[in-house]
């Protein structure tokens, strides 16, 4: 295990976060505050409570998930795509590091950044609404698992992408509708039966539902199902990763 190399990549990526502090940290905080103002104040004054939870508190887990998903995918994909784009990837590829170590460095840093921003959002949210976390440990498990899984997802997108258009395709076009339609801002049970069924095909619904359960013990589906879905997605990504290691896909060919 080349610990020095993992450290080097991890710290290098974290240093970029420091350089781009405004963009990395301040902007998600501002946009989340806007969500609270618009949804919490404007919409919340009409909805008031869902399943016995105030509307502002209800949307908090969804907002954290929205941030976590976009941040982790963004960080994970950019971290590996950028050296590919500038050509500095030659150095990573000619260093005595295994693919596992490359992934540890990049995905570790992407997940760390995503979680930092997620925690800041949680802190920001607590300024607007009363929050209590019923199962802190379960909450942490969902939080870390989601961060790692989606950072890895981002990493794979970064390897696959040939240009910035492809790089942004999934984070910009696929993730936001999934998150918005996955029950971030409402309970899916409020929808007509047909749209409820459609919503259940959305994997992000399960993430948000499980995460929300750890806060308020209310959920659309059993938290165990949510857990299973994340683990399943992580397993699929690992499978793709192993295939990339074996073939050198878009890295060593």
């Amino acid at each position: 295990m080349n610990v020095e190399a993992v450290k080097a990549i991890y710290l290098f990526e974290m240093a970029r976060t420091r350089r781009t502090l405004l963009q990395s940290v301040v902007s998600p905080v501002i946009s989340t505050s806007l969500y609270f103002i618009v949804f919490g104040a404007a919409v919340g004054s009409r909805i008031q409570e869902i399943d016995g939870v105030s509307y502002g508190a209800f949307i908090t887990p969804g907002l954290i998930m929205l941030t976590l998903l976009t941040q982790c995918i963004g960080n994970g994909s950019f971290g590996i795509y950028f050296p590919k784009f500038t050509g500095t990837i030659y150095e990573i590829l000619s260093s005595p590091i295994s693919m596992t170590e490359i992934v540890l460095g990049y995905v570790g840093a992407a997940a760390t950044k995503g979680m930092l921003v997620g925690l800041i959002i949680l802190a920001t949210a607590s300024l607007f609404v009363d929050l209590s976390i019923a199962h802190p440990f379960v909450m942490l498990v969902f939080f870390v698992l989601t961060a790692v899984t989606f950072s890895l997802f981002g990493f794979l997108i970064g390897i696959w992408a040939k240009d910035f258009e492809q790089l942004n395709l999934i984070p910009m076009l696929v993730i936001p509708p999934l998150v918005f339609l996955g029950g971030s801002f409402y309970s899916v049970s409020m929808l007509p039966p047909f749209w409820q069924a459609v919503s259940h095909a959305n994997p992000v619904l399960y993430l948000i539902s499980g995460f929300r359960w750890s806060f308020f013990e209310i959920s659309e589906v059993s938290p165990l199902v949510s857990f299973g879905i994340i683990i399943g997605f992580l397993a699929v990504l690992m499978g793709v990763l192993v295939w990339i290691f074996r073939t050198g896909y878009r890295l060593r060919n």
Partner: protein, 308 residues
């Protein structure tokens, strides 16, 4: 002594079907400086990329210090330093950080004293806190060399190190190369300038179309290059050489209209004076005289034609 790099039957076919290497075999001795010459697209960079682990070979093996570059990549890559052809740098990093980063990637603990020495040797010390985007092209090239030396490699690859580089940097670079050679570092450089090979290499390899056409000690190659030709254009063509000219081993060309005399320009006596006297004596009338030196290009053409 076992070679430090041993390439055998290396083939690389890219996804597009382009065959960049067609069965290259090559041994590199520890401590030597090998120059690989070849036109653009000859396969130089692909060869280096495979040895360094950037590109997977299609078939064939490469051993570095006795280890396979694919199976045992940690052992091979940790002793190799690579200076790539393209000026690829992280624009927003400082010189010091990017060079230290390279050392970390190679699994070595931080060693500020060594980094400082490398930066000073390359006249980069006063730029250590500058961001890379603030540096000129020549300075960036120095940074790439510093990165490659950050982990004290035993083998250094310089891919087209002097493309677009000014005289000062070239001199500095050869000084560094000389110092590394005294430390026993093996150096492989690619270039398409013969002068560069002349200046520093021990051996010269010529690569074209994915094949090694020739690999020779520089001194032997210089002998070939040192050969010159004297071409004598005759006013009237002859069918056979007149008597008296036999000792010069002349060739007749152009239907008897031209005499070709090969001589060694590096030798003290070229024999030109006596030849010209002999030609005048034989009654031939000279229309024009020219000399030409065989160039690397001639060697290429000759080698390629021989294969065809």
């Amino acid at each position: 002594m076992a070679p430090i790099v041993s390439v055998s039957n290396l083939v690389k076919t890219y996804g597009s079907g382009f065959q960049a290497l067609k069965g290259v075999s090559l041994d590199i001795a520890e401590g030597e400086i090998l120059a690989l010459l070849g036109p653009n697209g000859a396969g130089k960079t692909t060869l280096i990329s495979i040895i360094c682990g950037i590109v997977n070979p299609s078939s064939g093996t490469v051993l570095v210090n006795g280890h396979d570059v694919v199976k045992d990549f940690r052992a091979t890559r940790s002793i190799i330093g690579l200076v790539p052809q393209e000026l690829t740098t992280d624009q927003f990093e400082t010189v010091w950080n990017t060079v230290s980063f390279s050392r970390g990637l190679h699994g070595k603990k931080a060693n500020p004293a060594h980094i400082e020495k490398v930066l000073r040797d390359l006249s980069l010390w006063d730029k250590k806190d500058n961001m890379l985007r603030e540096l000129s092209g020549g300075m960036k090239r120095r940074v790439l060399i510093a990165k490659a030396l950050s982990h004290e490699p035993r083998i250094l690859f310089l891919d087209e190190p002097t493309a677009g580089v000014d005289v000062n940097l070239r001199k500095d670079m050869w000084k560094v190369v000389q110092a590394l050679r005294e430390d026993g570092v093996t150096i492989i450089l690619t270039t398409h300038y013969i002068e560069e090979a002349e200046e520093i290499a021990d051996r010269v390899g010529v690569i074209n179309g994915g094949e090694i056409l020739l690999i020779e000690e520089k001194s032997a190659l210089m002998k070939t290059l040192g050969r010159k030709q004297l071409r004598i254009e005759l006013a009237e063509p002859v069918t056979a050489l007149p008597p008296g000219l036999e000792p010069y081993q002349l060739k007749l060309e152009d239907g008897g209209g031209r005499l070709i005399y090969d001589y060694d320009a590096s030798g003290g006596r070229t024999g030109i004076t006596t030849l010209l006297a002999a030609v005048a004596e034989s009654g031939l009338r000279i229309k024009d005289i020219s000399t030409r030196q065989s160039t690397l290009e001639d060697i290429f053409v000759e080698l390629v034609e021989k294969r065809a």
